[in-house]
């Protein structure tokens, strides 16, 4: 069976590599170090259905990237990662269904896997 494809955008390369090592058994993982790279990956791989993005990144912030990405892959599910507790803007993004979920750093990879599995099964 083909593994679900996930794009993870984070300016910390170590986060990307650890994510890959821990979850590559379950997903085909695409990585991007910033929003622009992420948008490029999505253009070339429109079959990606799961996108995770860090909130605070240089050049383009997570929510801006997600808003742009949603136009490329409108059917994909987007998740936000952040070191902050839920803020007003995160809550608004959740309410407007811009993002499907939010994980607080440091995140529990097993929990992320569980949540992603839940969404892919229901999709």
């Amino acid at each position: 069976m083909e593994l679900p494809k996930v794009l993870y955008v984070d300016d910390e390369i170590l986060n990307l590599r650890l994510f890959e090592i821990n979850l590559s058994k379950h997903y085909t993982i695409f990585k991007a170090l910033n929003g622009n790279e992420g948008l490029e990956v999505l253009k070339n791989n429109q079959e990606i259905k799961l996108v995770l993005s860090d909130l605070r990144m240089p050049k383009m912030m997570g929510l801006e990237f997600i808003a742009k990405a949603k136009k490329i892959t409108p059917n994909a599910l987007f998740f936000l990662l952040s070191g902050f507790d839920i803020t007003k803007e995160i809550q608004e993004a959740l309410d407007s269904k811009l993002i499907a979920g939010y994980f607080k750093k440091p995140f529990n990879l097993n929990e992320i896997h569980k949540t992603l599995t839940h969404f892919t099964k229901n999709a």
Partner: protein, 438 residues
Amino acid sequence: MTNTEFIHLKKQLQLITEVVSADVYNLGERFFEEVVIKLNKTLNADYTFIGKLCEKKICVETIALVSKQGLVDNFSYELKGTPCENVIGKNACSYSNSVTKLFPKDQLLIDMGIEAYVGIPLYDSKSNATGIIVSLFKDKIVDTASIESILMIFASRASAELEHQQLYAKLEKNKRELESKVVERTKALEDSNKELKKLLKELRNTQAKLIESEKMASLGILTAGVAHEINNPLNFILGGYTGLHNHLDNIGVNDEQTKVLLEGIEVGVKRASQIVNSLNHYSRKEDSFDNKCNIHKIIDDCLVMLNNKIKDRITIQKNYTFTPIVIIGNSGKLHQVFLNVLQNAIQSIEKIGVITITTTQNNNTANIKITDTGHGIKSKNLYKITTPFFTTKQPGEGTGLGLSITASILKEHRGSIDFSSKENQGTTVSISLPTNNN
């Protein structure tokens, strides 16, 4: 010198010697009286007096008046029509006989049956007329010149004394005025001193508050940055831990030691993450403050959460107001306030004890007093307990953020928190919150 002149001079000298024989120069207040007595006797006069010119300069008040029988009560008389009118401010005058015929309007002289008059003017050191010395005789006199010269000797002395007395009186008056002014000024100074002290205290308080709010503001900026920066490395550790855990499972390493090592990493990350989380409080200000918060219910919720630490060892006494106290604010944050305070109260009680919770409401303020019978707070620590990261607890048991966050939440609700404590007897935490914020 003729024999007559010699006898005349000798007589004068004798008169002078008699007058000054008594120590008339050291009499002080009784100077005038003693002088008129001596003069009257020596000059064989019927009356002698020293008078001072009144302020309007139209009458004379006697200072000392003597008759052959002794001192007489002082009186004052108008100058007009008297022989004194020609003396005061002018020159010595003598009338050896029939003085009443010359001054028929001077009823006093007539009544006294006076025949002869000798008067000497008194001047002060600035040549202002100040008074008069007069000797009156019922019989005519012969040697007016001798009498005049003797009176003149004492006139200058009397003038000086008069001036001295007046200056002294003025001095006394000035002194009294000065003294009362000093008292007045001292009081004014003391008052303004008190006022200054009060202002200084207020200033210090305001300054302390300003420093505190500055501190909290910079702490907010700092912690927001730190929280974010620390969460990424924590993410590395947790990711690394997860991967390592899975890897060791896959290769079949699951001995006790490995478990302890892995647990160390996991617990460490979680605890660090919790601290970073609580720091977030300082930077998050956008939370809503429109919840209806029932204070009694919030306290009861907290007691339920803490039940496993209370049961069997701590008695909770609740003295709640009959009607519920409801304030508008952030329910979650107010829970945090009472959870922190109650948790401290519980932790302060080593074995068994009592926590008393009393609520009152007056005007637009709700007051909540939480008293414990715990180990209390050292007075030197009392002012530090709301400082971020100040703790007396063992490492790992407390971050030193609880009361700092509590105070900051109460401030957001326009409330306040106060502590009073006695070591080994217990602590009372007084929280007040405005209830009119709807």
